[in-house]
Symmetry: D4
Subunit: 196 residues, 8 copies
């Protein structure tokens, strides 16, 4: 795993080259477009996700799980974090179902997808602003929900603090929380659980 | 109106007596049990609500509205604030419908009441913890929602701050917010709107 | 409605084109100058407000209300938020009266306008810094006041927090609050009330 | 000067006795009822103010000023801080005018007193909740205003923080601020200015 | 489940009696000693844990899991939260291993227990003060860690905020966080995972 | 007075031209270099202070005071705020003494200037970081001290919050505080006092 | 070492008895008066300090150092923390010089003691309110200063936060900081340094 | 010492030139690349550290200590602060051992270096995110640990606040803390101690 933020393109290229030599699988998060461009040239099978600022290189195939992780967002602005989560989950060999833009302001959109939601073994639920989606989803299933607050919003959203507090104080049982915008971390845990 | 908090029982009795003489209608909020006991003895028609720490004396009858204010709470711990709101609304001559303990962890309880919710002219929605109920209710109606955060909760609820921020950053349109635990203030506005 | 912040010009153009085809009315908030330029070319009747970072396209005429919403600001720096509010209100078919730069440091300016203030059916009051204008206006009328804190100010204004707290703790009854800089949200509610 | 908070009655009695011996003038702030009772017995001319939790003993007469300090409060709950301020100012030989409960929710009450307000050489303005009174008073006079936030209020008042921020970010010139509930400190400064 | 905080003893007795009649299993958290005393008299098989302020009544036996949940605390002051977690986990039929007072100031105590730690299917790690224990434990295992910050500590611990922030920003992968002092919530999730 | 921040150069030029015509004295704060350049061309007697981001135009001479305001800074980084204060004070006709870079880390530098400090009628004391200079200066004189916290510093200085809190809680009497970086506001008050 | 806060008297007695048996030296901090009474009866040589809520039992004599630790407080209200620090330092065999109530409001009191201050090998400087004393002391010596913020103060002191921030942002070099009210921790470090 | 932040390149060159003339040793912190380039041309023996944004010029040789300061970081992103600390320590004549990227997520890397850690006379431990490394290191040695929180991290790291609170509330004795990112300050203290 490489946390690319704050590193130079040259530095990233160096680390990737070294890991490729060792035959390791590589996941790079918080990568800029320049980094993604540079990495693409290093290997034929790089999976790049511009939206999620993430890339993955799988030198050793991992068997896909049958059960899946549902990755759900409240709005369209949460999608970058969701893509970081989704690519991470897939990198670790998990089947993923994406349900984006199903926030609680129009709760029927959520109910339309209830079968996909209930079919998941574990759920990653991502929301900014008031961050209430995990509470609602958690009330619909009896599975672990990993909640990810995002820094989406303005004013009293305080860069994700409103969503973070909302998720921590959720009145629904079965919800645990990771750091603001931490899509990678949420899927890392979800993958552990999905593979049990 | 009398804000009783921080005043003595004797002080309250004095204010009430003076207002009774003038023939005014009287509403007292944040009253202790001792204050309620004392006030009951001053007039035969005192409406006392222990749960809501509130009393009202109506010397001049106000005509009841046909339209009603729905007062909705997420949990049972929010009921004291809801009763402050309900008694206030009734004091000002509004018809009130109470819907308590219909929080988003079990959203079906909310949907069971959809007719009462949609029938209101204006809604006061009260919630502690993550304070997400106004967002969900606001998505179900096309009426003004006055949201009241409560100080219910512990830890990251920070005495109502989590609920307050959640309500201010709601992704649902049509929601405005009053101070933490301010049931009176919410109904004061709701009454203005209901009587239009 | 389109919340333009964080989207690309191309994305906005796509959404607008699709909505135009469906014959819908369109309101776009938090639009950059580039977005406004691009949208102007898509339809002959686009209402663009640079100051308010907002545009509207009305394909289906809405009848104007007789009653009006007063939109009041404390200073000149609050005008962008006020224009977002005003264009929103007009888009929904409301008559609007603008009263700008009538803050409490020179309270006579406010009193000079008392007839316009008292004539409104509902008021949107917008202020940064200490955010005290809604309290004063609320004391002058018996109508609902929707208060909008702005991020105007420096130092202990903390990006709108001082104004937000001031409005939430107002000693005047009849005031409810929306998120910092949320002119759109305030007028959405005011429009609901004005049309009753 | 003695800051009595956190000291024992015996300790206070000891300090007062020692200062009496030296022939000094004595001012004690934040004194409990027990302390006031105890101090009364130590000297025939003790000025005790229960509301303001303050006492003063003047062994050396100070000449009263002709000019006066106006001490103004927004509500009745701010009176304890105001009395601390008033007794302090009088102790230092200043003439004082008290204007209590003239908050901005009903601004006419303030205008009724405009002559007393404009006649002062310096003003101490005390308010809790949103703390907007100093801004309004400051706009009415061309004299220094010492603003005192109080811890009066609940919820988003955060023990005086809302009032403090409001006063610091006031859009009126001529206002400086002291610590929350610091009536003594405000009058200490006001006295320096009034005696110039 | 019953969240007892803020309820009366009579209220609790009523709820328990009703649930007993229905033949349900009952778990009561945040119960005072008086509540525990009262509940003991209602049923012969009440499991009471004074330290954890929790009781459980199992009318329908649940089969114990073979795999276990490790419940680990940094200090002795974290034990009440740990007991809430442990009794909750056992109530849901999980085998539990308690490892208390193995904080990072003396990290060898933690290493002495490495077999028990590595043998768990999921871990609940509880810490106040700087809340660093989950990071260290998470680095020793490849299993999901549910981290619980506690309100233990003084000064800059800010009632659990320091621990909460520490856990959210942990540099170890595989850690998710619940609300301050929420032992029940952590074990609810851990139980879901342990039973997979 | 013109608060230039957030305005355009053209806007500033327009306001200045209009005020010049009316024969008024003009003070412009928070002006950029471009604004200062533009204003210089509008009048032969513009006083420009690049460091203080401030300009003044005096069309009607004001008589200089005999007594003076001491303007004191802790460090060299506080000088921009100090120059805003100094130019403001001089604009209003006050004699000013500047004492810069005499912070408490080397307190002897402060004592070397004790005569200038004690000779002032009122003092403006400016400091960032821990903001302790006003406390020390206040202990050396029996005159009103107007304290200005600055946003100088990093980390736990939190943009001036550390200095602000330090000044508000000063154990020295005679200190009142204005907003972070508000050199203008401090001198406005100091001028009122100096001219008494 | 025993951190007594939150433990029962019986629990403390048990721990002390067990440690006495092992022949260990014992230091108990944050002890209530009841605990101190109870511990006194367990051993003839208990050192009890009511003010500092601390006791020590030395079964194995430690040689006193020649160099000394200066323990300095700003006010009298800081003395409890100072006594915790002083007893701790002495318990570890350090010579201690106490300089209490020498805060910066009257800086001459500090200068009167300059020889004792400069003679120390390391200094523990304790202050509440604005917490500026360490900065001033640090400017007078070329020795490590361990700064202890205290929770003394009200309003914007925020339970020690103002002092904590002030000490962290001190413009004087050579100062490091411990937790609010942590007299024990400061002396633990000072003892390490003094014994080098 | 020169704190370069916020100064111009020309200003820095002037200060350095003046100090060179006086024959003084010079240390410049928070220097930009441009400043480093400019300073290099002023003297043949400038020590420049790009990573640490620091330069030193030693005109008078200082004898190197035998004992050493260990400078330890949790991650690679903390290295800039660590280099500021290391160059500072060396400038003052201390022998330094650098141990970088030995954070607690993989605690074995720390144990591999236990001899270097235990051999130090004093330690500077630098960490961002949850800031737990000083607690672990402090538990391994009986030497003073100076902890430096860094602004490394995102979301709930809040620019170093999470690390700062974690270090202040550490359950390990012997740790004191400096401001966020203050590598210079930590080494200044460590040097005092190392030279005893």
């Amino acid at each position: 795993m490489i946390f690319c933020a704050g590193k130079t393109v040259e530095h990233i290229k160096g680390i990737v080259a070294k890991m490729l030599e060792k035959g390791e699988n590589i996941l790079g998060t918080r990568a800029t477009s320049e980094m993604l461009e540079a990495v693409k040239k290093l290997h034929p099978k790089v999976v790049c996700n511009e939206l999620g600022h993430i890339f993955g290189i799988t030198q050793n195939e991992i068997q896909k799980t049958e059960s899946y992780i549902a990755i759900i967002t409240a709005g369209t602005s949460d999608i970058p974090v969701a893509e970081e989560a989704a690519v991470t989950a897939e990198f670790f060999g998990n089947r993923v179902e994406r349900l984006f833009d199903v926030g609680i302001a129009g709760i029927h959109r959520l109910y339309d997808k209830i079968d996909v939601i209930r079919g998941a073994k574990v759920l990653v639920v991502i929301a900014g602003m008031e961050g209430a989606l995990p509470s609602v989803v958690g009330g619909m299933v009896d599975k672990p929900v990993i909640a990810v607050p995002t820094s989406v919003g303005y004013g009293a959203a305080f860069g994700g603090v409103a969503a973070l507090l909302g998720m921590l104080t959720s009145c629904t049982s079965g919800i645990s929380v990771v750091n603001i915008d931490n899509g990678f971390g949420a899927s890392y845990i979800a993958s552990m659980i999905n593979k049990m």
